[in-house]
């Protein structure tokens, strides 16, 4: 019964291209079977058909749960995450690497680290960072960017609370700009925004899996389709990092602790011990380690 209500609620959310057939369907299911053949009719118990282009997320489990199998282009996608546990790159990088063109970051919490992103396939030269303090400036910059013909994707970090509170009509404005100009738009918001209504076409809540698990836990709060009760688990780490973490997981029982006393001595030992383990010893600080500067690390 709960499910039924939420499905009806879904109908209420997504007003585009929808005829509210659901109540009719509940009363007498037979006469509307023709609705299955009509492409513009979306039934709330199945995933919506593609309205616009999508970009594959790069996570197969997530693609399966999204309408048309990817991030919608020309729609607002809300990513909710806690302020201290940032996971946006793991979630979005595969999709961003799939398209070309500049990506605008508005109000990013830290500096994007070019070498780290390049290792995962995103050319850091594509990134443009806009730092703006107030929410109004960030919203303005987002809207301007969405109107630009060259920009492919806009990632915005909107704070919550205080005077910088984002109102639903402001998000609606972004959603309209994104759909008019067919841009990828991701808005990162804090967890507190979960309870608010939002015009976003897709809302996902991202958190890391606790207790040493490396994957991403993903709750799809809202999508054009039936709500998803179970969180998705995505193994979202770069291959090499994942391999390293898999090795270290075995050693977590004896974590690497370095005491202060004769620190250098002990560190050398730790280093030496680690060299028995093939993987850890291979963390070369820099590629092409023939450089003279790297020799200290080699000798240690």
């Amino acid at each position: 019964m709960v499910n039924t209500f939420s499905q009806i609620a879904c109908v209420g959310f997504c007003l585009q291209n929808i005829l509210i057939f659901y109540t009719v369907y509940m009363a007498n299911p037979l006469p509307i079977t023709f609705a299955r053949e009509m492409p513009s009719v979306w039934r709330a118990d199945e995933l919506a058909r593609p309205v616009d282009a999508v970009v594959a997320t790069g996570h197969a489990a997530l693609d399966a749960q999204l309408p048309a199998g990817g991030w919608p282009v020309g729609a607002l996608v809300e990513v909710l995450q806690s302020k201290s546990n940032l996971n946006e790159w793991r979630l979005l990088l595969p999709a961003l690497t799939r398209c070309s063109g500049p990506v605008l970051l508005v109000g990013a919490p830290h500096q994007p680290f070019g070498p780290g992103l390049a290792a995962q396939g995103l050319d850091p030269q594509r990134l443009l960072c806009v730092t703006a303090q107030t929410t109004a400036q960030r919203l303005w910059a987002c809207e301007q960017a969405l109107r630009c013909a060259d920009v492919t994707a806009v990632l915005a970090w909107l704070p919550q609370g205080g005077s910088g509170r984002v109102r639903p009509e402001q998000l609606r404005r972004l959603q309209m700009a994104a759909s008019t100009h067919s841009k990828l738009l991701f808005v990162m918001r804090p967890l507190a925004a979960r309870e608010e209504s939002s015009p976003a076409a897709l809302r996902v809540l991202v958190s890391g899996q606790g207790s040493g698990q490396e994957g991403l836990a993903l709750h799809i709060l809202k999508r054009r389709g039936p709500p998803l009760a179970q969180p998705l688990s995505l193994p979202a780490r770069a291959a090499r990092l994942a391999a390293l973490l898999a090795v270290t997981r075995r050693q977590v029982a004896a974590p690497l602790v370095i005491s202060d006393k004769d620190g250098d001595e002990e560190r050398r030992e730790a280093n030496h011990d680690a060299s028995h383990d093939t993987f850890i010893a291979r963390i070369t600080p820099f590629p092409g380690a023939s450089h003279a500067l790297d020799r200290t690390a080699a000798a240690a």
Partner: protein
Amino acid sequence: MHWIALQPLPDATGPQDDDDGALVDALAALGWWALQFTPRVAQVEGAVLMEVSASERLFGGRKPLLDKIYKKNKPVALVQYARAATSLIAIARLQLSGPASRKPDDLPLTTLLAARPHLPTLTRIGCTAWGQLRALPRGGLVRRFGAGLVDALDRAYGAKPELYPWLELPAVFEARLELTARIDNAPALMFGARRLLAQLHVWLQARQRGILALELGWELDARRQDAPRGQLVVRTAEPTLDMAHVQRLLAENLARVTLHAPALYLHLRSLETAALPGTTTSLLPDDVRVGDSLHHLLERLSARLGAEHVLRAVPYADHRPERMQVWQAASPAASVFATNSVAAHAYPARAGGQNHASKQPKTDARSDALYPTWLLTQPLKLPVRNNTPQCAEEGGPLTLLAGPQRVEAGWWGVSEEDGACALRDYFLARSEQMGLLWVYQERLPGQGAAGGRTATGPDWYLHGVFA
């Protein structure tokens, strides 16, 4: 000879003054516009004269040329036309502006400029039309009225060549506007600036150039201020004819200007222009891109937020993570995206000896996978308890997963721009609250922000997040 006289209609500059796009000096703009048809353009008596007989062949005959002037290529202001075999007849017909063009002999003497000082005398002897004046004996006319009148008559009938100071396009655009009202706040100056920009647009079109930099200046009421002038320089990355973009940039910049006294005059000057390449249009409707270009966006963002807030990263060959990329203002370099220049080009020459390391980032994917995706601008000092670094916010202990990755660089640094010496051991650490982190430990005392080894042990810093 085939002369066309053009005159802006009085209402083209009168009541339209307040409209957008009204020109500051319609006559000059009309002259610049006329220069596309012929080099022989002159300004006489509030009218623009153009002699088109030499260009008829280029435009495919007289009729196509007139069609082009009158219909296809609309002049920049509302005008009235008259044409004739000589310029003086054309001007006379323009002044009469009757529907039927009269013969030269029937034109009234009031329309001949050279006859105007002598009009009372001529009227008293019953001479009112050009034909009557021409019938008088030449010798007597010269003796009575001077040679100027006879010369003008000869030129009007084509017996003498007509020479004027021909109009030339100025190499630098400069226009001045007296404001109709005293303006107290800077954003309201946009109102007059818009008219100056419309004039600039005509000039740019005539020169087939795009604007790169311009200067908007204003003169303040001198009685109220010691420095009665102010100016604003606006630059754009690509030569543009798009006055709407320039206008937005001006508006953003003017919004930050404070006028200390009411402004009385505005003037606009072009500082730098560049030849405008032609654009290729597409036949297919799909190729028409909606929206403005990237450099327009970046310039608009930079104009409002400040150039230091719109940044792009340029890779740099250095071992210290915080110096692996240099943040530069994005707006002048927007063309990077257009030209697809390679990253290696952006490395400064002083990287010199390390050039072998400064290759494309993508090729290093194997090793660089251990770099985080977020880098903290300022490394965050972590509290240490039991010789274990603690997570800064919630205070839980960090579990070191992998490391150390030793960075020892920057010892050569003597100046500020070389940065500080970095002797660090980087570790991959996990925090229950913050996920996977990139932390480092200072290896020598006295380098960190806090400086010095404390009793508890070496300093630990949070430097990156594997988001």
